[in-house]
């Protein structure tokens, strides 16, 4: 799924768009968690195709993405990230979307669209 289509189905606000976002990049996997060490444990393959879905709206969700070479983070439940955190994301080349849906709904929507779990 392209980032643009993910944004559309999740009715997401685009908080930060990196260069990669605009390209015809395909994402195929999602890992959803509020616990960063779970993401750090589970995302081991194809980080460039993996989306991190989280309710954690502080800098650590972006730091986690940075360590794992992830390029797209989706914040759920319509939470706002402060400007400083958004700027950090764009400096790191990480695109950030914010969806009004809950974690459960966002997972359901992306699953229906064909996105799968990390393997």
């Amino acid at each position: 799924m392209k980032a643009e289509d993910i944004a559309k189905v999740l009715k997401a606000k685009k908080l930060s768009l990196s260069g990669e976002y605009a390209l015809d990049k395909e994402y195929s996997m999602v890992f959803a968690t509020d616990l960063m060490s779970d993401a750090l444990a589970m995302i081991q393959k194809a980080p460039e195709e993996t989306v991190l879905l989280t309710g954690l709206c502080n800098a650590q969700s972006l730091r986690t993405a940075q360590m794992l070479d992830l390029e797209l983070v989706v914040i759920v439940r319509g939470k706002e990230l402060n400007e400083e955190v958004v700027r950090m994301g764009s400096d790191l080349g990480i695109s950030i979307l914010a969806t009004p849906f809950t974690m459960y709904e966002a997972c359901g929507i992306l699953y229906r669209e064909g996105m799968r779990s990390v393997s």
Partner: protein
């Protein structure tokens, strides 16, 4: 084998605002030096978990990055206590004594030390009330 690069970073206790900064700097220098993305990712995950542990569980300390002429990468994370009473227990996936503040930061899954162990090619841990030392080595995997 000799060390061709060495740098030590300070990690401050309870410095939640800058948590992950040292790991970020280390990851950036590895990429600049030309370390592969696979190895830098493993180092980054391990050092990030270690840095967070030093902030949320310990009184801060230092992280040293060393690179040898054969390409081996060594990380030494050394903190100022209070130490880990039962290392075996601490290494068990899911075991955590994380505070509410640490949970708010997104940590406390009890997966940090197991993550560090899995990502490193060599893993040594020593702990006493004076502090915990993690000594890790990384190299290209076939």
């Amino acid at each position: 084998m000799s060390v061709i690069y060495q740098k030590t970073y300070n990690v401050e206790k309870d410095d939640y605002a800058n948590a992950g900064l040292v790991s970020s700097l280390i990851k950036q220098s590895l990429r600049t030096i030309g370390v592969s993305s696979a190895v830098s990712r493993r180092v980054a995950v391990a050092v990030y978990e270690a840095e967070i542990n030093m902030i949320i569980h310990a009184y801060g300390g230092t992280i040293t990055l060393e690179i040898s002429d054969d390409g081996a990468i060594r990380l030494i994370a050394s903190d100022l206590g209070p130490g880990i009473p039962d290392i075996q227990k601490a290494l068990t996936p899911g075991f955590s004594t994380a505070s509410k503040k640490a949970m708010e930061l997104g940590f406390g899954a009890g997966m940090g030390l197991p993550n560090i162990k899995r990502n490193a090619d060599e893993f040594h841990i020593e702990s006493s009330p004076a502090g915990t030392v993690l000594d890790l080595k990384f190299q290209e995997r076939e």
